[in-house]
Assembly symmetry: none
Homo-oligomer: 209 residues x 4
DNA sequence: GATGAATGAGTATTCATTCAT
DNA sequence: GATGAATGAATACTCATTCAT
């Protein structure tokens, strides 16, 4: 790497015409696949070029560096994830148990869609510039606190029985990554089946007797 | 022309005198730290040399390749892990609930000791030669089936109430990696505290009402 | 980790545009000179880079490895050599003596042109992948049997008088490498002069009295 | 190579006790085998150590450098070769034809014994220090001139009929290396058989009709 | 005279990135 | 906006040789 941008000085604002964006997205998606299959470091720009059909030099017309591709991969997960718990449908649910169930199902579905990217995030987050890593961790923390809030509401209503809401929230958030991180030994379960089992498991773990 | 051993064709039997072994262990341990901090690919042999104080060329007197270091890191986790559920104390416990608790505590402690190595395993298992990867997955499967057996015993005795013992076992095994994979947001919890919370969480998730 | 093609699994079909090929040829030719002067192992890629004026890394744009260069050097000799005895002019000659003379002259001229490469072949054939070595030996055997056939024809016609045609053919083929292998003590002879002398020597050795 | 002796500044005079010499010879012989099998550059000191059973460091007690081993290998051929035509039995033969036959047989036998070393000399003479190379070439020239003298004597006596005695001598000397250089396609011939055939071939090539 | 460990200088090769057309 | 070619800096690894005990 010759030039080194200050880490995480922000991606170029997603401007330019949509053809440009489409190409970029194409690159990021294909690269994501390669990254998850072979690892970030083991994937060469030439392979990305071949996979996308875009000439190596031209690649740099659409992205600034290999690192930027990785960043944009993570951006992909970011946006929709953030919206998970901003969804009116979920935020509006009054019953904490129901609300928690809704969050679980929503996130499990999300984790099915972005399985590879989530795994990538676990594996390659070391490579993120601090700022970006912080952003992601912040978002995750936000998500955890959101669950924590639900749990506390449930505690008050004596629906849930747990000792440490912060811990439980953390554990639940972790459990929701089950599929991306352990898909290799969950092949036997159909998607909706697995979602239900995870839901049951978590609900039982927090439920008051 | 470089000669290249078929990856993972078995590490040289750990022979030689103990000074040799000590050096090797020193390399593996330091490298493990570097690998977890920066990632395997991003860690150079020069860095390992610097970290261990062993001259770069001399490093190769003790290990055959960078890959071998990684293999040996994983070996470190292997051996003790296997013994976890072979321990007489645990195997002898008659009550499934008590037995499960014992396993949980044992594995949580293990995961504290080998936090870095476990994380590394999640992150860099891609780089393992197939044979070694299979071995590791087999061991993990073995562990899961062991938990499953406990769960089934508990089911019969109506101590546990779960729908799918295989799934629950899988989930529990996963939960036991909580600390290595999410230590960054568990800093607030003391070790024994966390172990207890995980134990509670899991026990509640499987317990019959 | 270095990936290593199985040695000699076939050179990339000589495609690409002619500029590319020209560069490749330039590399192979310069390298051949260096190899003959210093030996293959003693010639570094840096030297080849310097000799060709092509940047070290860029060298790898045109060839895949140092080994490939060596292979291509041998390829250079291969092609034209094969055609030697497929030449209509020679194959058409009825008189065995005249035919043998023609072959001698043809091969001697060839050995003058490819002096360095032939010497290299004697010196560095150890480094060839088995398959390639076999091919070359097969070609040589083919050539020897071709001479043998001429000798046998001459024997029948009582023009030649030798005990063992196979041996004589082998010896003649060997004698035709005189110049590449012993040029250092043949400096006193002009090319055409030497060719004539070799021709005489061989013809006398096989001629019936 | 760290230190570089002035090329060919002469080998340490073969002094020391005979145990020392025996070890040295042992090294040189085993190394010669390895050199011929794999090439000089491709043979490592470690391999020589393993092959001789002498510890790597101790090797340097008996020889000064890898190069010296090569030199000593060539020395081995030198001594006896020089004596070939100094043998009273041969020098005393009056008849040029008989004398030439004797030389041929002597040298062919020699080439059988030192097949590997002769081949090595052809292959790796590049590595010799100038001085040593000159010595060897001088010896070879000496040998050629010796043959030339025989030829000239035969010419005077009208026993031989050749145009250029110098050339013929050169060619004959070359032919006497047939076996070391082409053993791969002479496997079909028994030793004494081959010697006789070479003798016939050469004699016929120079004989007056 | 044996041995384990060191070391320095090198070697082929890789790869992200850019330049010229 | 496409393409072939260039380039610089790095990377894992090797090996002859020597040192300390």
């Amino acid at each position: 790497m010759r030039k080194k941008r200050e880490a995480g000085e922000g991606l170029a604002p997603v401007e330019k015409n949509s053809v440009f964006q489409k190409r970029q997205l194409q690159i990021v998606k294909k690269a994501a696949k390669l990254f998850t299959k072979k690892g970030y470091a083991q994937t060469t720009m030439r392979e990305i070029s071949k996979a996308t059909g875009i000439d190596l030099s031209n690649l740099y017309y659409f992205i600034e560096s290999k690192e930027e591709i990785l960043f944009r991969v993570f951006e992909m997960i970011h946006r929709p994830e953030s919206s998970v718990f901003e969804k009116r449908e979920i935020m509006g649910i009054a019953d904490p148990a129901e609300q928690l169930r809704a969050v679980i199902r929503e996130m499990m579905r999300f984790s099915y869609i972005y399985k590879d990217e989530v795994l990538l995030l676990y594996r390659e987050s070391k490579l993120l510039p601090k700022k970006m890593l912080k952003e992601i961790l912040a978002r995750e923390s936000h998500f955890i606190r959101y669950i924590e809030a639900i749990l506390k509401k449930g505690l008050e209503k004596k629906i849930f029985a747990i000792e440490d809401a912060a811990f439980s929230a953390s554990m639940i958030a972790y459990e929701l990554s089950l599929y991306p991180l352990r898909s290799w030994n969950l092949k036997g379960h159909a998607k909706e089946d697995l979602i239900r089992l995870v839901e049951q498991h978590i609900m039982q773990a927090v439920a008051a007797v």
